[in-house]
Symmetry: C2
Subunit: 417 residues, 2 copies
């Protein structure tokens, strides 16, 4: 018993879009413990789609289709499947009424082409689509073979998968042993250094521990196969705790935690506030902090001091020091952090000034040189010099700057208060 | 004659990574005019990989493999292919020396497992890998069938594709007629409204005109099949010009242009400067403007006035008006735009104040209500009220706010000066 994913859509063959549906479904199948050995992508062509079905039914007993359920003549997944199994289509009056109601609900009239979406092979059942017009179907055209179809629009597919397909697969006995995972996140340590520190854990079999690449951060995934969440947690918790204790301050959170959410949580717990003074990041640090809903509780705002005149006028940076040391200097980073803390009246003031490139670098101050300043509630100020590398992209240097600044606040919050 | 892509890697079946390689190769095949009807993903399993090869050779004459070229026992693409065509492997001394040299170059010693990467089916040729140790191969195991293998690491695969595979495919006669495309970008008009306006062009056959979804913006792609870029431009240019003239101000740029790059170009041409006052976007507008290298020429900076105290202290917003009208109001947006323009001494001042949600909305001021203010060099101020929708995500509302503000500057720059 294994499943196969068949993604239908010429836009995938043209490279117009990334196949995020295949990845989502792959993760879900792994989570439910359903083996899955092949994925196929095929265009909006009935003959080639049927050839793909012919290949897949010899290899798998669950075929999951995405795409080709829309109202246009290009959308032919249902038709292709029905024809392949030589089964006539019937119009389902209930689904037709539902589609009509959806159109009426947004003040539009259903077109004749949408009527096609109410067609279903005789013997199949509909998979309702709560967020779009195209329903999918569940069909056992013969014993030991189940077909599930989903629209290609990722948000609709995901919702249908969760609300209708997962309960169905569970009712068929799948998912009794599942894989439960926790993703542990780290900052300030490289992947190989971390892997070395926890090397004895990388050989475990249940739970398993594996490093994987996140968006510019190091992660370890602890995965347990278990019959219930409670059992899984009993396996995961002690290993996660051991990893956290080994990693110390380099560990910052798990799963949905982000640096910004953790910093927000720490500030909220301490009833403290923060403001930002940004040069090379141009507002990016404030943007990340305010991604968190409710950040107005601890984030007052800041100054984007891209031009030196703004550093002087709004952050009280000394004009003489700007001339002597330059805008990208330890001195100016210090004054910016103090300036924004004082002007905005917050407990913490954080500053970033650096050279994001590609221009503007020199021998002594290369691209990638970034100073991060942090004025703390006790009246102290620390400044860190970072060299993010001359060859790195402007956007990477800017991102690293913002995240490193956030991480500095996190570490100070954890060690000072 | 068509090509097929076979991506090898259990990490794809587990959903660990997105299949960006398949998309890259799909775009490249389309560009070179090589038909491509199927993609297959299969795990690191010799039996299943060989089954996938058996299916693919009946459908295509060029098979492009990615993944499975590394040094570990899991990497078995070369072995699987050689065995499938019952061809022995030979060790290539030149490649072995190259791999040894690469290890020596980074001060490491080659392990015995890396020796495996110098194995090649008798009769095949190596595709050099300039950026990694795993070379690929080109092999015609029988007439009318060409196999190309690439490593799974996207950066290595791309470089090998461009430097070695494309010249090879061209030498085989592919790519004489290529597809050249220009992507036209629009703001302020929906996809269906735009499609209606240019409906007569959507029926052209060379060039073709097709709407496609960009990241929150509407795009039309004009694609011509031609033997040279000059010929392609002769087909694309008049159609692109007609579309631009139909779309008017809603058209903002093509290909690599972004709203921020266009606004930067317009400001630079006019020798004008801009500053930002941001509430709900928290620095996101400044971040987008400063993505452009050299933006310091026209962007001075701004104030992130998340808290009302910052609006008063740094933007001279009236405390009484804040109480009377609220922070999210036409009046406050106006004062923020004027305040930042005056404080920073720029020609333009732009402001954003709104409710990004999910909390903070009310009946009269729902989530998604965002005011954008723009103080212009002539002393005028305009404020626009936007309702981006209560059901939209916080992050979408923030992005829409920033991009709408940029677009307002663009339109004023084009119409006022």
């Amino acid at each position: 018993m294994s499943a196969e994913i068949i993604c239908v859509g010429t836009e995938l063959l043209l490279g117009d879009i990334l196949n995020t549906n295949a990845r989502f479904l792959a993760l879900e199948l792994a989570r439910l413990g359903i083996p899955h050995y092949y994925q196929t992508v095929v265009g909006d062509n009935i003959d080639r789609l049927q050839k793909a079905i012919a290949v897949a039914i010899d290899r798998a007993s669950i075929l999951i289709f995405t795409g080709g359920l829309g109202p246009t003549p290009d959308d032919l997944t249902t038709e292709a499947i029905a024809d392949f199994f030589q089964t006539p289509l019937r119009e389902d009056p209930e689904i037709l009424a539902e589609i009509e109601a959806k159109f009426a609900g947004v003040g539009r009239v259903m077109t004749p082409s949408n009527r096609k979406q109410a067609l279903i092979p005789v013997g199949a059942e509909f998979l309702p689509n709560p967020s779009g017009t195209a329903p999918g179907l569940i069909w056992k055209p013969r014993s030991n073979l189940t077909l599930l179809t989903f629209p290609g629009v990722p948000s609709e597919m995901k919702r249908m998968w969760e609300e209708t397909a997962v309960p169905y697969l569970e009712s068929q006995g799948w998912g009794k042993e599942r894989i439960y995972s926790r993703s542990l996140k780290f900052r300030g340590i490289g992947e190989s250094a971390l892997a070395e520190k926890v090397s004895h854990l990388l050989e475990l079999s249940n739970p398993t521990v594996a490093p994987y690449a996140g968006m510019g951060e190091v992660r370890l995934r602890v995965s347990a196969r278990a019959a219930s969440e409670t059992e899984a947690l009993a396996l995961i918790d002690p290993v996660a705790a051991e990893i956290q204790s080994i990693a110390g301050l380099d560990y910052f959170g798990a799963d949905d935690d982000t640096l910004a959410s953790i910093v927000g949580q720490l500030l909220r717990e301490r009833g403290q506030t923060v403001s930002v003074a940004e040069s090379c990041t141009g507002g990016g640090l404030g943007e990340i902090i305010t991604e968190i809903a409710g950040s107005s509780e601890y984030f007052f705002g800041g100054v984007i001091s891209y031009d030196n005149r703004v550093k002087i006028a709004l952050l009280d940076v000394s004009e003489a020091d700007l001339q002597t040391f330059g805008a990208v200097s330890e001195t100016v980073a210090r004054q910016m952090a103090i300036g924004v803390k004082q002007r905005l009246g917050t407990d913490w003031g954080v500053s970033i000034t650096g050279i994001a490139g590609p221009g503007g670098g020199s021998e002594t101050k290369p691209v990638g040189l970034v100073y991060i300043g942090l004025a703390d509630p006790a009246g102290g100020v620390e400044v860190w010099e970072n060299r993010f590398g001359e060859r790195r992209d402007r956007s990477i240097i800017r991102q690293l700057s913002a995240f490193t600044a956030l991480d500095r606040i996190r570490r100070q919050l954890l060690t000072m208060f």
